[in-house]
Amino acid sequence: MITEEIIRGALIMLAAMIGTLGVAFAFNVEKRVVGWVLLASFLCCVAYDTTVALGGGLFVASILGSSVTTLYSYVMARLIKTPVTVMIIPGIIILVPGGKLYYTMLGAVSSDMEMFSRYGKEALLVASGLALGIIAVTAISRPINALLNRILREKNNRI
């Protein structure tokens, strides 16, 4: 039973990785960065799906997923010297509520108001969670980045 769950989870991760790889190809992410981008997406997927599986709710799951990925992206972007956007965009793509938007549209088309409002609300929740996660990490990263730059500059001056 538990192994079945683990295999199912692993397959979902694999699917997410394939999708992210596609995004990395389509947006022409550099080869040396692709591996790190896949790891970003993996972290996002783990944070989001685990929270949902544990009953944390879509909103919290989405905040956790996007903030973990954004935090990782900021750190990695500094280490491997690439713009943060290059890491965040493919990394976070699995949180984009494409499926929920589709069902919202389907609900509207087939006059199923229950489906329309349910998925519409879910899509809004996930999208706003995604935004909040990015925003929160970006807000704290700016002063930290400035501080790091100052420390590095002082270190260089001393040498």
Partner: protein
């Protein structure tokens, strides 16, 4: 430093050296900065990054004060090069997202600040950066197929659904590329492509193959869904670039409406999806 002053007018060796070092005119410096800013915006960079790049390049070329304001469709710059003020303005048209090029341009801007190339040297460097970061057709096709394959599977479809979704993604991508090359309105192009995707999936449904049409369509939607625009819009908004953030947000919403309408029309014509 006056405009009319030439190297021969200066006897002081030290002063001569300074002039030789800053022989690149402020016009060229502004040109280089603007080109870099424009390209960063075009390939999907944030407004904040474009402004910062322009500011750094101008400062590297000797500008004392740099005032730059970029929104997604234009950049305005005024740079003060020791009593010589230059103002420049350019219109930016948003292109295809190319994160590899963004990284290359980012590296190039650091290099420009370090080596301060002349206009000709800069154009050669820029050409090289753009040439090495252009994205091949095959790579894009594979990317589009992988996106549909991966996400149709991720959102709960079977492997068959995922494969069919990837199959439909190929003509969708092809038509989208052709339409954008033919300068078709981006929103109408997305509508047409999504309509095609919907029709393709529903036709597959008619053949009686045991598949989940919703999953096939979701996989294809992920190819056109404005995820990048939405993410960048939020980053711009929160970074204080309200205009650009709203600009991108509107684009994302219009795209989402176009996508929904495309699929909706297909479903309505075929009389229901499931």
């Amino acid at each position: 430093m006056g405009k009319d002053m030439t190297l021969d007018d200066i006897t002081d060796v030290e002063a001569k050296k300074t002039v030789t070092e800053t022989v690149i005119s402020s016009d060229d410096a502004v040109f280089i900065a603007m080109e870099m800013g424009k390209r960063i915006l075009t390939c999907g960079g944030e407004v904040h990054r474009a402004e910062e790049t322009i500011r750094r390049i101008c400062t590297a070329y000797g500008a004392v004060t740099v005032d730059v304001n970029a929104i997604l469709s234009m950049i305005i710059l005024t740079a003060d090069f020791e009593n010589e003020e230059k103002t420049s303005f350019c219109r930016v048209s948003i292109g295809v997202n190319n994160l590899g090029r963004l990284a290359k341009l980012n590296g190039l801007s650091r290099r420009i600040c370090a080596i301060k190339p002349s206009k000709e040297e800069f154009l050669a460097l820029l050409d090289e950066a753009e040439r090495t970061s252009s994205v091949g057709v095959i790579k894009q096709i594979v990317g589009a197929a992988l996106i549909s394959l991966g996400f149709a599977w991720y959102f709960g479809g079977s492997l068959l659904d995922a494969a069919l979704s990837a199959l439909i993604a190929l003509p969708m991508w092809l038509v989208l590329t052709l339409l954008s090359r033919a300068n078709m309105n981006a929103i109408v192009a997305k509508f047409i492509v999504c309509f095609m995707g919907g029709v393709g999936a529903l036709l597959i449904g008619r053949t009686g193959i045991n598949c989940n049409l919703n999953m096939i369509m979701i996989g294809d939607i992920m190819n056109v869904v404005p995820g990048v625009v939405l993410t960048n819009s939020l980053r711009d908004l929160f970074g204080g670039d309200i205009m650009s953030g709203l600009f991108r947000l509107c684009t994302a919403l219009l795209d989402a409406v176009a996508i929904a309408c495309g699929y909706a029309v297909a479903i309505l014509i075929f009389g229901g999806a499931v």
